[in-house]
């Protein structure tokens, strides 16, 4: 009993922190409609800032606290509101979600840049020198007591703010109807700002209170927030009292698992993964909403042609062959994974691009594919690649279960929780037996990965594996293009556009979702296996949730519905990192920030870069003269490079300059061929409606 009470106090103290952080999350979400994935990262940054001021620079604790809670946190909240989220305020939920995921990724990278992760940064608990309180058999430290008192004060203050003040009423009204609030003289922007400031301050309080009890690690602190997310989901992201209740459930569960879980090698991970598992379950049990109607803010899905896709597939393979002939072994190891990661990124196209299902666990599923390959193909048996596809597809089908009930932010959360469960528990398991079959994961260290063996011909060299990965990416891209043009592809887009209409035509949401999740996971699994082959040896960390965020962000930037996105993501993810590292090694830390920065710039190109690139390069592809000149020029440069007359830089720059010049020429040539005039009343009927038409009509009407 005594032990039960002791663990109860520990649980309540942790719960208090989750309640504080979770209430900040709920406050921001209810007022602004933005689910802030970076909420935990704001707490993490505050904890680091507090350490820097109080320990690093020796400021007195009260002064450091005041500086963080009253100056830095509010300033950060305002900055995020103005710079990051206001530009996407009128865009869809997915766009706002991407911005906060970019912020999460960026803040972790920035913290790792500023504070070297290899140095320990201990923080002492508050009032650590004071004697603990003894309440009967239970001992409560002053830090624990302080945490609980702060949580109660936060609850009272929030109740007072929302129910007894004008700004609180404005904030509640903003949730219901933003435009209407504006009409009644209230200021929704002010309500937003207050929510961001308060939300960030609450995250900061939580971060500072929890940091002394765990290691000061950027990713770990940012993801401790999963527990607070779970608490917020208990409150259905709306109710503060239920959020507090959820926090108590999560905090006590963690504490009692620590105390009472049997000590064996399989269960420590379960304790770490428990909040994520609970989040997953809470999302599953979330009340079922009605079928969604039409979302009017969706971006069009580009329609590829099979001829164009075949050419594109050829370009991928040619690109890899050229790289294989001009890169030395070290560079081939560095750049080789771009095609494998391209396959992982390609998995977003059917899932997120066509079907609109946001998944933050594709790299984790790629990890499953890598494990399957590593364990089943020690000698590179090619059939194991099929097994990697099948097992990953099975895992994907499991994730589709919550996807039946969830969408948007809830689905993103569920997939993030799934990734965290894999990271913290499944990937850390030692080998075990299930139904008489011995299953090994990462063996708690690393898994050796062999290259595939085709009829005695073993692919082992990095260059060979790079071309093989490119071939797989080319085939995958062709397959996804065919899918887009197929009956199933049309159905996926239809399902995304209007679930209600899809269901009332007789379409099965279950079948479509399970199939697309399985297919997409299968593709990611193959990508993971290829990635592993390229790396030769893989660990669980290479497939964790945080590592997957930049790939997701670049996939969004590229354009989730574009078939060419696989190659784009692979190239854009690895290309700049290694190029900049080679040219200017001091940029090492800055390049880690690039995906996040690019994600934040996403608001300017919500339709994605790849469709725009396709549009701008099409004139060159249509012009036989320009295309021949490009291929000829490139062939000359390539031969010069193979003959060691020029270096890689000349090959790269020369090709780029030639291509850009020929593109400009081809575009100019096409522009001169004037299109037939269509009378204004037939715009949108005899020819597609264009964005600029609206302005032309407005000007015409205004001009009388």
């Amino acid at each position: 009993m005594e032990q039960f009470l002791i663990f109860g106090v520990v649980g309540l103290s942790t719960a208090a922190i989750y309640a504080i952080v979770g209430s900040g999350l709920v406050l921001t979400y209810t007022t602004t409609g933005v689910f802030n994935f970076a909420h935990g990262a704001a707490g993490m940054l505050s904890a680091f800032a507090y350490w820097q001021l109080s320990v690093g620079w020796g400021w007195p604790v009260p002064l450091a606290l005041a500086a963080v809670l009253l100056v830095l946190a509010p300033a950060f909240g305002l900055l995020v509101e103005k710079v990051v989220l206001r530009p996407v305020q009128n865009l869809g939920e997915a766009e706002r979600l991407v911005m906060t995921v970019a912020l999460l990724s960026g803040l972790i990278a920035a913290a790792r840049w500023i504070w070297d992760p290899n140095l320990p940064r201990p923080l002492t608990t508050f009032f650590t020198e004071r004697e603990p309180l003894h309440l009967g058999p239970v001992t409560v430290t002053w830090h624990q007591a302080l945490t609980m008192i702060v949580a109660v004060l936060v609850a009272l203050a929030l109740w007072f703010l929302l129910n007894r003040t004008r700004i609180g009423a404005e904030m509640r009204a903003t949730v219901d109807d933003r435009a209407l609030v504006g009409l009644t003289g209230a200021d929704p922007v002010r309500a937003n700002r207050v929510a961001w400031v308060l939300g960030t301050q609450l995250a900061a309080i939580g971060g500072i209170l929890i940091a002394p009890t765990v290691a000061l690690d950027a990713a770990q602190l940012s993801l401790l927030i999963v527990s607070a997310y779970t608490a917020a989901i208990f409150g259905r992201l709306r109710s503060l009292p239920l959020t507090f209740l959820g926090a108590v459930v999560v905090g006590c569960l963690e504490s009692y698992l620590t105390g009472y879980l049997p000590q064996n090698q399989y269960l420590p991970g379960l304790r770490l993964a428990a909040p994520a598992l609970l989040l997953f379950l809470a999302l599953l049990l979330f009340p079922h909403g009605r079928l969604r109607g039409r979302d009017r803010r969706l971006r069009p899905v580009p329609t590829p042609t099979m001829r164009g896709s075949v050419v594109f597939a050829g370009v991928i393979v040619l690109f890899a062959v050229v790289l294989a002939t001009v890169l030395d072994e070290v560079d081939a190891i560095s750049y080789g994974p771009m095609f494998a990661l391209g396959v992982v990124a390609l998995s977003f196209v059917p899932l997120s691009g066509f079907a609109g299902q946001i998944s933050l666990c594709q790299l984790s599923i790629a990890g499953v594919g890598a494990v399957v390959w590593g364990q089943l193909a020690p000698d590179g048996q090619p059939w194991a690649l099929v097994a990697a596809f099948a097992v990953s597809a099975l895992v994907g089908a499991l994730i589709a279960v919550p996807a039946l009930r969830l969408s948007g932010v809830y689905l993103a959360l569920a997939t993030a929780a799934f990734a965290v469960v894999l990271d913290r528990w499944i990937f850390t398991l030692p080998s075990f037996e299930l139904f008489g079959v011995r299953i090994a994961v990462f063996n708690q260290s690393s898994v050796e990965m062999a290259g595939p063996d085709f009829f005695g011909f073993r692919l082992e060299e990095p260059a060979e594996l790079m071309v093989f990965s490119a071939l797989c990416l080319a085939l995958g891209s062709l397959g996804v293009a065919a899918l887009r043009l197929s009956r199933f592809g049309r159905r996926l887009i239809a399902l995304r556009d209007s679930e209600a209409a899809y269901a009332t035509l007789g379409g099965s949401l279950l079948a479509a979702r399970v199939l697309v999740f399985a297919l997409s996971a299968g593709i990611a699994g193959v990508g993971g296996a290829l990635y592993g082959m390229q790396l030769q040896s893989v660990t669980a960390e290479q497939f964790n949730f945080v590592a997957g965020l930049p790939i997701f962000l670049i996939a969004v930037i590229g354009g989730l519905g574009a078939v060419g996105n696989g190659l784009f993501v692979g190239t854009a993810y690895l290309g700049p990192i290694h190029l900049l590292n080679a040219v200017a090694p001091w940029t090492h830390n800055i390049v880690q920030l690039l995906p996040a920065l690019a994600g934040l710039g996403f608001a300017r190109h919500p339709e994605g870069i790849v469709p725009g690139m396709r549009h701008s390069w099409e004139p060159l592809a249509r012009s036989r003269v320009a295309l021949s000149a490009l291929l000829g020029g490139f062939a000359v440069l390539w031969l010069l490079r193979i003959g060691d007359v020029v270096g890689n830089a000349v090959l790269l720059l020369g090709t780029a300059v030639l291509a850009l010049a020929l593109r400009t020429w081809a575009q100019a040539k096409e522009a001169t061929a004037t299109e037939p005039e269509v009378p204004v009343e037939w715009w949108g009927v005899r020819r597609p409606w264009r964005k600029e038409d609206e302005e032309v009509l407005s000007r015409g009407i205004a001009g009388g």
Binding site: R491, A503, G506, S508
Partner: protein, 241 residues
């Protein structure tokens, strides 16, 4: 076949009874009109019949089979199709693909392409077949929704304000289309505010007001019903001359 029988359907939102013991029927080969002022509960009733909303009580019977507990997809496979008051097109697909998605879910998916061409002829939208549905005018978009519902070859077709946004000539053509659908044996239930269209095309009318059916019968009879006049024109019904 495709007869519809709704009995004693009640839908409660919080404390408000959006539908209160509604009973109506519709027969194959007929166009049945469902009219009533805004907020009367017409679209809610369509949601209940198509399975998008579960009633608090009551039954929906399609072709003699109780479908009250079935989801929308199962009802659709039993021959029910509908359009929506608030357009629910697949906006990122072309008009042709909108129809194709539906035709491929119909009874003969191998002939889906031919069926789509035939429907494009019937609704007169060949010229925008390859236009993205998001780029259509409201009138054209409503026609595409009707065409999409036709593409699954339904036995029972629920049309929610399909003629909104159409001019006089288009409405006349649309009336002819509705008649031809009924003549083919389809049960058509029409919610529409264009009284000219309703009176010219419907074989039978049900009038819904404040969640209750206040009159049913042939259009000429309903037109003279005092309760209907009161619902449309206010508490003091216009005396017949």
């Amino acid at each position: 076949m495709g007869s519809l029988e709704v009995s004693d359907v009640t839908v409660v939102f919080g404390g408000h009874r959006a539908l209160d013991g509604v009973a109506l029927d519709a027969e194959p080969g007929q166009v049945t009109g469902l009219i009533g002022p805004n907020g009367a509960g017409k679209s809610t009733l369509f949601d209940v019949v198509s399975g998008l909303r579960r009633p608090s009580s009551g039954r929906v019977v399609l072709d003699g089979r109780d479908v009250t507990r079935m989801g929308p997809a199962r009802r659709a496979r039993r021959g029910l199709a509908r359009t929506f008051q608030r357009l629910e097109l697949f906006g990122r697909l072309t008009v042709r693909d909108n129809l194709l998605v539906a035709a491929e879910m119909g009874p003969d998916r191998r002939l889906a392409g031919h069926a789509v061409t035939g429907i494009l002829d019937r609704i007169g939208l060949h010229h925008v077949a390859d236009t993205c549905a998001d780029e259509l005018s409201t009138g054209a978009a409503r026609l595409v929704e009707v065409g999409r519902a036709m593409a699954v070859r339904p036995k029972l077709l629920l049309l929610d304000e399909p003629a909104a946004g159409q001019d006089g000539e288009e409405t006349e053509r649309f009336a002819a289309l509705l008649r031809s659908l009924a003549d083919d044996g389809t049960t058509v239930v029409l919610v529409e505010h264009d009284m000219g269209l309703v009176m010219s095309v419907c074989d039978r009318l049900h009038v819904l007001d404040l969640g209750r059916i206040i009159a049913s019968g042939p259009p000429e009879e309903v037109r003279r019903d005092r309760a209907v006049l009161a619902a449309y024109l206010g508490e003091s019904p216009v005396e017949e001359s």
